[in-house]
Symmetry: C2
Subunit: 247 residues, 2 copies
């Protein structure tokens, strides 16, 4: 069974407003789907050209390669596509090591940052409402399954940081910040990362309690900035390394 | 003047074989073009809707927005597109901190790694012949100008590493490697990074003198691997931090 209304539903999920309306998102590929099936996420339906998943009959749709092509967002469709329910997340508690994103726009960057949070044990990723949607198919694909293991919250980050800075240090990167390699870093804290082109907005800057910089080692010093996902990798590595024994 | 043969030439440069044939590559956007004009790279021609570059008359082509759309590789063309000559690079000397890529496939990853090399002062980036071409328009775009400041070599990396390991330690990431945060790291050395899906190939593995791992801090330990550009960021950060005073 593969009806026109199913195709229409799946196609609509490449748009945020329909993902929110239906509470569903898309993931493609055998590996990604298997990871999500083994997670706490709730399967809605799977469309596959081979019966390779141990999913219940009513949720499994065996389809042709031609049909998979119709619904896929990928240039080269990969065996299967599944719909999962978008999980509900409760307001995050202000504790542990957290990452806050201020208008990160590129789906690949957000996907990489989610994967980094998973690797470094960051449980809560807090995104401004202007940040790209984490259930955008390109983001989901780039997380390589990590999307099921990190709690992602979209909220008013200025309010969150205003409350957060009462409890934890709030770190952010600025050109005039202190060297991240030599500054003391607390085991619990909030790391703020800004927009690809403009960095951290002036409104957020006021809420940063400690300004840091990743020093530039190149001779020429012409590089303008690091990619935001690279900065996330270096920050999370540095915090985790230092506080390893304390956690 | 904007002839059909010019359009044909520019369009052909999205393919590697024509880039090599003509010795030219494309960069788009005012900012990127300005950075390359200020570098050692040699301009071939610029196609712009505004006369904003101080380039010589015979190399400057004022064109319409509609014409720019015809030649652009971007969804939203950005004011200008330029062709630069691909620079000749001499065989790299085996010294300093170097990065070797073993079949990195994703243009965004290569672009980010080039940008990281620039930031951390890595002068030579060595790529296996199977690695995505650094003059691919998507790579050039992702480097944000760094492509003009890092020397990129495509060669037989197994031969290079066989010669290199006689002079410098050769590092690579493996699941059974030693903790990168606690191992001693030399100021000069070769860091090998592998393919997105398969990591470092068995053939290259034999040439690694020190296996390292970026330890996983997450509770669940289900994340399969870090993105190769994230691993590059963490490795370069760690090497640079430790050897800062020594360089």
């Amino acid at each position: 069974m593969f009806s026109k209304s199913q195709i229409k539903l799946i196609k609509s999920l490449s748009q945020k407003k329909f993902r929110n309306k239906h509470g569903l998102f898309i993931i493609e590929g055998r590996k990604g789907i298997s990871e999500l099936l083994n997670s706490s996420l709730d399967l809605h339906s799977v469309y596959t050209i081979e019966d390779i998943f141990k999913t219940s009959e009513e949720k499994t749709n065996l389809i042709s390669e031609a049909d998979l092509k119709k619904i896929s967002n990928l240039h080269t469709p990969q065996t299967a596509l599944a719909l999962f329910h978008i999980p509900e997340v409760v307001q995050p508690e202000i504790k542990g090591l957290q990452v806050v994103l201020d208008e990160v726009q590129d789906p690949g960057n957000l996907g990489t940052i989610i994967r980094l949070c998973d690797w470094f044990g960051v449980e809560d990723l807090i995104c401004s409402r202007e940040t790209v949607d984490c259930y955008n198919p390109k983001v989901v694909q780039a997380t390589m399954g990590s999307i099921s293991r990190v709690k992602i919250h979209y909220l008013e980050v200025s309010e969150y940081l205003a409350a957060g800075k009462e409890k934890l240090p709030v770190y952010g990167t600025f050109l005039d910040g202190k060297n991240v390699y030599s500054e003391s870093l607390s085991a619990e804290g909030i790391i703020v990362l800004g927009n690809e082109a403009n960095g951290i907005s002036p409104q957020m800057e006021k809420l940063i309690s400690k300004k840091l910089v990743i020093p530039q080692f190149g001779k020429i010093h012409q590089t303008e900035s690091l990619n935001v996902a690279s900065a996330a990798a270096i920050f999370l590595s540095e915090f985790s390394r230092r506080n390893f024994t304390e956690r």
